[in-house]
Symmetry: D2
Subunit: 150 residues, 4 copies
């Protein structure tokens, strides 16, 4: 029935000092679900927010129109402690692995002014040529940025 | 900087026949993002939909008010081919692993009437006692259901 | 302090027979908010769903790439009875007013298999030239369709 | 076919000075839809954000558990100029009308540091007794707050 066995390994950072880049995200009322906490799905929008903020602020990637752009191929989140509205979430990112065509970001979510992590995980981008949709090497300037945030 | 090494292993099913329970989810216009495809975050709402539909239809779990209820502790998704609006998504689930207090569902997303998978991943529930918030054994009747969907 | 007085008038249809076109929308778990009902904001995604389904099914409008496309300029919703997950919502639409460049749809939301309305409102589209972003007359073929759904 | 004629009148404020209370909302990547602008539905989540922030900051209303709580009965939005990610939206609110059991807020959305309004509308709350779900007079302390924000 199963066709292969896969392994995901990544470095876990549980403290703020384990992350290199931060953005703050105010939760919204309808981020909460019926259980009174931020819905699990919404954590990934916070992941997305810090990745996009990082790319916008630190690189020249144009992922909407550029000829080479990053495509999400895998995301993972482990939920430790609930986040909820109202709260400001600090989302931390560091670059965990840089491959030829792909990069893995480690991400951690913290309630503002708290050191105890709420959730952590990773987000893997593969760079693709927009025309062919094939993986392509990470552009040099972006790779250099990634190296600064390892 | 990193505090531990973790490993995620799960059985991958790439075909419809690898799944035991299905639900159909019409995509919505605003599931699509600026790139014209379903936003990566939204795939997890499809994961959530099939897990909840499975629990509602096949078990007596009351995860809003029951004394013992399942809590998501980890989700993962690998993105292979884009989904987009308009489209109906068939979300397949099978039970991959049953522990003492936790269960891992394998999930696959297929465009309706297609056999080629778009995305797959897993979703891990831990059963907790609502009062103490501590893990507690999976109730017997629910365990029996899980065994039927292995 | 206020700069003008405005008036909104529209025909209210409270019964299924008052609508000419229907689409069915399964609610999603995270459509519900902390109060256990579909969040008010989400009703507008159901409005959007029926308008888009109507345009896709009954007209040749290409609102993403066409040279002339409809732009939402006003929406309104009155909330009468709660919708909630799990439930299938039947969204009904009829064309209420056809102007030179704009069209007003009346929309009603019903729980499936119920005749009592949950919410109703309207949605106003103005046709604009994509290049100039100026209002432009409704294309004849689309106008003809609208007339059939008055 | 139609059963009644209804009229909505409200005071329009097109400038920042027309509003009495503000909150800032960073847009999110997936607030944008395929057209590259904030989806119309999402404007209502900004409306909701300013109303909730106002109630949390200025009143003692507990709309999740209190015996008397406000229920949204009508919302309306007029779209003038697009909002989009990335951008911070300043949402302004003033109290427009205070009835016996209901209150109407006027709301305006502005791109941060701009005076030209993007969208405006209103949001009507009716106070209800949670047990009976019947309208009930606005509590005196909340009414006093509303009067300060007229």
């Amino acid at each position: 029935m199963s066709v292969e066995q896969e392994t995901v390994e990544f470095e876990v950072g549980e403290q703020r000092q384990d992350y290199r880049f931060f953005t703050s995200i105010p939760t919204r009322w309808n981020d909460n679900d019926m259980l009174g906490h931020v819905n699990n799905v919404v954590y990934y929008s916070y992941f997305e927010a810090v990745v996009i903020q990082f790319l916008m602020q630190e690189t020249a990637v144009d992922w909407v129109k550029g000829p080479v752009s990053p495509l999400a191929v895998e995301t993972l989140c482990r939920f430790r402690r609930s986040l909820s509205f109202p709260m400001i979430v600090d989302a931390g990112l560091r670059v965990d692995k840089i491959g030829n065509t792909s990069v893995t970001y480690s991400i951690g979510l913290f309630p503002q002014d708290e050191d105890l992590i709420s959730a952590y995980g990773h987000f893997v981008h593969v760079y693709v040529d927009r025309a062919t949709e094939k993986p392509t090497p990470i552009p040099d300037d972006i790779r250099a940025t990634y190296e600064r945030f390892l």
